[in-house]
């Protein structure tokens, strides 16, 4: 049991809710207009989500949001599709725009927001750092 929980913590993609979120994220990744709406809703939610549990990861969540904006605007495209999906997925899961994710369903076993974000950051840190470097060199 302990091993199983550990595996879950390691790869939140095994979680059903997050897997569903990633499916949605794929669709958003292909639809810049929808992605723009998602971005604005997510930004609105950042004001009400407590930052403390995320610690330094919060900075990366901000970078994910800025990358998403630069992506749908077509300013920045230097990101692999799989990473973009993971970034959008983390935004949807953590910030839950439009409150699409049900608060509590028995037996679903939610993964902690901070775990999902940490996982996404671990996978996309290089992409996010590259993006931040581009930001300071862009006009």
């Amino acid at each position: 049991m302990k091993g199983k929980r550990k595996a879950l913590a390691k790869d939140p993609r095994r979680n059903r809710v997050f897997a569903a979120v990633l499916d949605r994220a794929k669709w958003f990744a292909k639809n810049p207009d929808a992605l723009r709406e998602l971005f604005h809703e997510a930004v609105r939610k950042t004001k009400s989500v407590p930052k403390a549990p995320f610690k330094d990861m919060w900075t990366y969540l901000q970078a994910m949001l800025r990358l998403t904006r630069a992506y749908y605007r077509g300013e920045y495209r230097n990101v692999r599709f799989a990473n973009l999906v993971l970034i959008i997925g983390a935004i949807i899961y953590v910030l839950d725009p439009w409150d699409l994710i049900p608060d509590w369903i028995p037996g679903l076993g939610f993964v902690d927001d901070a775990t999902v974000l940490a996982f996404a950051v671990q996978k996309t840190r290089e992409t996010l750092d590259d993006f931040a470097a581009w930001e300071t060199r862009a006009p």
Partner: protein, 148 residues
Amino acid sequence: MTLKKPAPKRVERKVSQPKAALRSEAFARALADARTHVNDPERLRALFEEAGRKAAAVPKEPFEHSWPYVQAMLRLIRAYFRGEYRNVPQEGLLWIITAMNYFVDPFDLIPDEVPFLGFVDDAAVMSFALARTRGTLDDFMAWEISAF
């Protein structure tokens, strides 16, 4: 008081003490420069450009979790000298500019060309500045995604 020997002059070559960087001449220089140039947009622009170039070239590892904040400091400096963003307490701005001055200085406590260790002192100065400006930087990043 478990120090085995009195601190020798060469202590500047030791890395384990983050405070050594803050006591260094290079830091004092960086702070003095920051005080002089904090309200000089042209100097800030030059600093931004130099630090941005350097940030793209240096190893990120020594900076660990501070790295995304280092980038945020750069963007804040740019937004500031451009006059786009002014919601920065003067003291916070001073620490950020000091840290960047230190960062661009190749001859700081541990010269930047020293393999593996060259940026350990820069990272210590960054996390010192970050500890004093985290709220300012978080506010700035919140503004970045809300503005435009």
